[in-house]
Homo-oligomer: 148 residues x 2
């Protein structure tokens, strides 16, 4: 889609967009995460063009985010999240939290997420991986890194 190749930029956001920045890709990951793992199911659930779905699935498999797995003796395949892909679900959960807060409107969020550990309907919050205190836009400093 975008003719500018984000994968070449020295920016982890751009590189991430190069993997899941194309239209539909995050929604495809959401479906696979939610158990909608087959071509026909995803196509019907999202209403995406078959051509584009083929392109996206191939791209996500190439980048190691999804895995193509046969599920029958016939040529039938399911798509599953790899470890790399499973960790991308973190991004989806933050998008869900933001969308629920700012865009859900009066009807409320369309899907609820129950934390398996505490049993409560909840949402994610960000903490510093080092000290476990809240970590948001207001309390980080940016420094040049080795790959810059």
């Amino acid at each position: 889609m975008q003719r500018t190749d984000f994968g070449q930029l020295a920016c982890s956001i751009a590189r991430t967009l190069d993997v899941v920045g194309e239209p539909w890709s995050p929604l495809i990951l959401r479906d696979v995460f939610a158990g909608v793992t087959r071509f026909e199911q995803i196509q019907a659930d999202l209403g995406i063009s078959r051509k584009v779905l083929t392109e996206r699935l191939n791209h996500l498999v190439e980048r190691g985010v999804l895995e193509r797995r046969p599920y029958d003796n016939r040529p039938r395949y399911e798509y599953h999240l790899t470890e790399k892909g499973t960790e991308l679900v973190d991004m989806l959960m933050v998008m869900i939290g933001w969308g629920d807060k700012w865009l859900a409107g009066e009807a409320g969020p369309p899907v609820l997420y129950r934390h398996h550990d505490c049993g409560e309907i909840s949402h994610v919050d960000l903490v510093c991986a080092h000290c476990r205190e809240p970590m948001h836009a207001g309390n980080v400093d940016l420094l040049p890194g080795p790959g810059g």
Copy 2:
């Protein structure tokens, strides 16, 4: 770009993509967050087409993510994050964490993030907003919500 209108879907991911899912939008937010706030600066920094930059800035202002603010007697403007936009930086920080881990390669991450509270170079982790324990793909259950 995508002719399918994601904003109409009953899905918070799709609705979030309707705001920042178009190409370049997350990179524009990153620039504004990092202090690159003027049209010419953003255009030069990203190498984005001026036409597309105009469209994206207008869209982000319309959706309440950015604020257009005059900075001179002349007709000159800076773009700043609103509260709504500042909270979107959470999504960027998760993308950065994932990109740093899976795509940075041998050179290492291009930018480092120091947590202001503990002073350490760090990255974000996700916790349950309710019990503060880790919350990832593996330990959430999906339930239908009121807006579904």
